[in-house]
């Protein structure tokens, strides 16, 4: 049995699953200052009497998101080696930053080492400022982590938390690596406290099974890893809802997943049944990051959005002015339209009718309601089309990729959320696709958290001219023979992933996807001197096999 818990802004949902069967569901109010207590309360209500049957707890927590919203982040001191390139001054807008000399180039070759004296001066200045969490990032550290490791080694034991760029992500993009590392450092101590409180609570309840935490990419990681990389636990809300959609709706083709709420609608896409990810990561606290995440679009459109009529068109949202008029609110909402059309039984139908008349006096309320909901789903249709176009337009670098790009072509819609059922026929008409609204969607998020599987990813960069390979995620730099080929790269990366899984306490290894294979001859002086190989591997987000 698995317990899934999703903490939202106002309430937390829990679901106890036996296989894919929902055994129990619970809802409690949320006090953001005492998240661990909320979780323990939910667990108390859900945990089976036979503790031994509970295999895992999976948690989607807003802890880190709240820390950002409330500004309660730890101060972080950043040590940055930018080398040649764009002027790096802009990093200093984010947090106290010390720029170091030295450089690593695009092939991971060391051009010049950083001055240890400057590193020491920076560390002393940080300590004077009471900074206890530091981030170390060099440009191209995904190709060569030596400078990051050197600096971390030099400062070992002097700070409570040290985050290094290359461990956070093996992807390129230096600013994103800097900001991800900053974020990780800023969340470290809070996450440690949260973990301690939660573990204490679990002890009290006699729960000994592993606890996993949901990530933004729709996958999970064990708590132990999350406390090393707390930045990965951020923005898991959309993951929970979309994995819930996936669990309940089970589409296997290209599909559109919708979570229609009171004020917002979240949209995600499935490609051949697998959730689509952001190419790099999401923006957090105004900063672009490398935190792997599902590609979602959130539009300010929901059942309680305020609706007005001007210049011959409905304007829906993005703001909310209290509940629907049917429920005693003061402004017309899409919910009122659903009530008028008999799609939703809620509040006072007379007040809902009044809302439609207030919107368009002299028109039949049913006609106004239908036109309003048509506008509502039209906004969704446009947002979906824009997303599909954006994904299609992602940069490609080979002739074959450019000529064979496939545009996502959804075959169905899975919609969850309060207004979903009422909008079902409108969605089908506007998008010309069948739309499913699964049962139990009110606890879809908790089910999503429960059903998500562990995900990891790793990247490999091998240069046979230099005789070296790098797998940054596991701080691996090792020597390779000149004959090292793509098949060897796959094998090595598979081992790396298996090792990571083992470290996370997982037995067995689900199917690994290899992505972005690139093999390039290095030619110097009109003859081939070796190869550069790059490869990414991942366990993609999906439903755990039960």
């Amino acid at each position: 049995m698995i317990i899934g818990i999703d903490i939202g802004g106002t309430h937390a949902d829990g679901a106890l699953l036996d296989g894919d069967r929902l055994v129990a569901k619970q809802k409690v109010g949320v006090d953001e200052r005492h998240l661990s207590e909320v979780i323990i309360t939910l667990l108390q209500k859900l945990v089976p009497a036979d503790r031994g049957r509970l295999k895992r707890i999976q948690l989607s927590s807003t802890l880190c998101t709240n820390a950002i919203v409330t500004g309660s982040l730890d101060p972080v001191g950043m040590l940055i080696q930018a080398g040649p390139g764009m002027n790096p001054d802009f990093f200093a807008r984010s947090c106290p930053t010390w720029f170091l000399d030295g450089a690593i180039d695009h092939r991971g070759h060391i051009i010049c080492d950083p001055d240890p004296g400057k590193v020491a001066d920076a560390a002393a200045a940080m300590q004077r400022q009471g900074i206890d969490s530091i981030g170390i990032v060099t440009k191209f550290s995904h190709r060569n982590n030596r400078h990051e490791l050197q600096m971390a080694g030099q400062l070992a034991g002097r700070f409570a938390h040290v985050s290094m760029g290359h461990r956070i992500s093996g992807l390129p993009n230096f600013p994103r690596r800097v900001y991800s590392t900053w974020l990780n450092g800023a969340l470290s101590s809070q996450f440690a406290r949260f973990k301690a409180a939660l573990e204490q609570g679990l002890d009290h309840l006699g729960i000994t099974c592993p606890c996993h935490i949901l990530k933004a990419d729709g996958g999970t990681i064990p708590f132990a890893r999350a406390s090393e990389f707390p930045c990965e636990s951020i923005h898991s809300g959309p993951s929970a809802s979309l994995m819930g959609c996936l669990a309940l709706g089970a589409p296997s083709s290209d599909a559109i997943l919708l979570d229609i709420g009171g004020t917002t609608t979240d949209i995600a896409l499935l490609v051949d049944g697998a959730p689509l990810l952001e190419p790099y990561g999401i923006d957090i606290a105004g900063r672009p990051t490398l935190i792997r995440a599902l590609k979602t679009t959130s539009i300010g459109l929901g059942g309680d959005s305020r609706v007005t009529w001007s210049d011959g068109a409905f304007r829906i949202g993005p703001d909310r002015q209290g509940p629907s008029m049917a429920e005693g609110g003061s402004a017309p909402t899409p919910t009122d339209a659903m009530v008028v059309l008999g799609k939703l039984s809620l509040g006072s139908p007379a007040k809902a009718t009044a809302a439609m008349i207030a919107l368009r006096p002299g028109q039949a309320p049913e006609a106004t309601a239908a036109a309003l909901l048509e506008t509502f789903v039209e906004h969704i249709r446009l947002a979906v089309a824009a997303m599909i176009e954006e994904v299609f337009s992602r940069p490609v670098y080979t002739v074959a990729a450019l000529l064979h790009r496939r545009r996502i072509s959804p075959k169905e819609i899975v919609a969850i959320g309060g207004p979903a059922a009422a909008l079902q026929s409108f969605l089908e008409a506007a998008l010309h696709l069948p739309c499913t609204v699964p049962a139990h969607y009110e606890v879809a998020n908790a089910i999503g958290a429960a059903r998500a599987r562990l995900t990891v990813q790793a990247t490999l960069y091998a240069d046979t001219v230099d005789g070296q390979l790098s797998i940054p995620e596991i701080s691996c730099v090792e020597t390779i023979p000149t004959r090292f080929a793509m098949a060897d790269a796959e094998k090595r990366l598979q081992e790396a992933i298996a090792g990571m899984l083992q470290e996370m306490g997982m037995k067995g290894c689900p199917e690994i996807d290899f992505l972005e294979r690139l093999e390039m001859n290095v030619v110097r002086g009109f003859s081939t001197s070796g190869k550069i190989l790059t490869l990414k591997a991942q366990i993609r987000p999906g439903l755990a096999i039960i």
Binding site: D105, G286, T398
Partner: protein, 438 residues
């Protein structure tokens, strides 16, 4: 996006297409690896997240886009691969971004290059098959009605193909800065090559001595390029942004730098850049491309330096300074004397020249005979007869700025020309945007 990322002053589109699966041959300078390190540098810099910098994929140019400019023998379809159409399509995407005001500026970082491709195309020369800038220029004229366009070619090799295509067009100013043709392929680009009879002075060649560096290029920009552009007042400035003047380039002998290229672009302020050559793929291209992008976008490029950059290495000897000073004066004179010989040429009505074009990649020669049919009201139409590789072509071009009379004459001559045996007869009418063969 946010105050945490820098913002470009000028919104700039990048069409970055390294074609990792295409090469002329595996060990050729124009091979898969060429833009690998450039791509790695640009992505690691985080340019995709800089506010006001946008990345677009190239589109495929159509055969009609090619036939608007070239006479491909035996045909564009037979001569070109998809890679060529994508490279040309990258420039078209750049043009559209700027002309439709999606962005203020655009840089097509694409390969293969194009500036050695002449109007007649029998194969690959100087790593180029079709002239991607020229295809872009005529596309812009066709779709957006732009007349006066300046092309400044800063590749180390003379842009002989671009020169050939626009040689008799006074609405296209072509300025090429390159290593002296006596010391480098293609061996042309001297001061006296200054435009056809209807466009004398609108082709300006500045053959620089080997080892010219930042100082020399700065001087040419300040003394020739910028004053000439001010007077010509183009509606659009294009930079053929070859980067093989770099001090580390393996096939040239110059001393230019990433800082120098960036400064040149800040001064030139082009609307569109198109990558041409540049074969120091590891030590130069990542830095020169980044420098050019930042300069175009109006961003700080002071930190863009090659790992071994040391400006003291490139101090210009006094003798070279004097040589370049004199060269600048002569080059400026070419433009000052523009149009002076047109009256004289008009009396001849038809001016004919002959040339021998060498296709270095596969090694064959084409004999070409060009006749400019002149007109007092317009540049007139051009007739080309070329023979090479056992193929013959007899072609007529009506330029976009031809008068109705010349256009009619070209069409009449084409229709009354009896096709010679084994000869393709072609009419390229840029006004009607048609390409007829018989």
């Amino acid at each position: 996006m946010s105050s945490y990322m820098p913002s470009a002053l000028h919104k700039t589109a990048l069409i970055l297409f390294p074609a990792f699966d295409w090469c002329i041959s595996p060990n050729h300078p124009e091979r898969e690896e060429r833009l690998l390190y450039t791509r790695d540098q640009l992505i690691e810099e985080g340019l995709e997240d800089v506010e006001n910098i946008v990345f677009y994929n190239p589109e495929l140019a159509s055969l009609a886009d090619v036939n608007r400019v070239h006479f491909c023998v035996p045909s564009a379809e037979k001569l070109l691969s998809e890679s060529h159409l994508i490279s040309a399509g990258g420039t078209l995407r750049a043009a559209r971004a700027v002309m439709e005001k999606e962005t203020e500026k655009a840089f097509a970082i694409v390969r293969p290059p194009g500036h050695h491709a002449m109007q007649t195309v029998f194969g690959d020369r100087g790593f180029c098959v079709i002239n991607i800038e020229a295809i872009m220029v005529e596309y812009i004229r066709r779709h957006y009605g732009v007349r006066k366009i300046a092309i400044v070619d800063t590749d180390c090799h003379h842009g002989d193909g671009t020169q050939d295509i626009f040689y008799n067009d006074p609405d296209t100013l072509f300025i090429s800065l390159h290593q002296d043709g006596r010391t480098l392929y293609p061996g042309s680009g001297f001061l006296h090559e200054s435009g056809g009879p209807a466009a004398e002075g609108y082709t300006i060649n500045i053959p620089l001595p080997p080892k010219t560096g930042e100082e020399g290029f700065d001087m040419v920009m300040e003394r020739v390029v910028m004053p000439v552009l001010d007077q010509f007042a183009p509606e659009l400035i294009i930079n053929s942004a070859g980067q093989d003047n770099h001090y580390t380039d393996p096939i040239t002998n110059m001393n230019f730098t990433a800082q120098g290229y960036a400064r040149l672009n800040r001064l030139l302020n082009p609307d569109i850049c198109v990558l041409e050559g540049g074969y120091s793929i590891e030590g130069a291209l990542p830095y020169t491309n980044l420098g050019i992008i930042l300069a175009m976008a109006g961003m700080d490029f002071s930190h863009v330096r090659e790992p071994d950059y040391d400006p003291r290495r490139f101090t210009q000897p006094a003798e070279m300074t004097r040589y370049i000073e004199a060269l600048c004066a002569k080059a400026l004179g070419v433009f000052t004397a523009r149009g002076a010989k047109k009256q004289e040429a008009l009396q001849q009505r038809i001016v004919t020249k002959q040339k021998n074009i060498f296709y270095d990649t596969t090694g064959f020669h084409v004999q070409e005979n060009t006749s400019y049919h002149l007109c007092p009201a317009c540049p007139g139409y051009t007739e080309v007869k070329a023979t090479g590789h056992n193929r013959h072509i007899h072609a007529f071009t009506v330029p976009f700025n031809a008068c109705p009379k010349c256009r009619g004459q070209a069409r009449d001559t084409f229709s009354t020309t009896r096709p010679a045996p084994q000869t393709m007869t072609v009419l390229q009418d840029r006004i009607e945007d048609s390409y007829e063969t018989k």
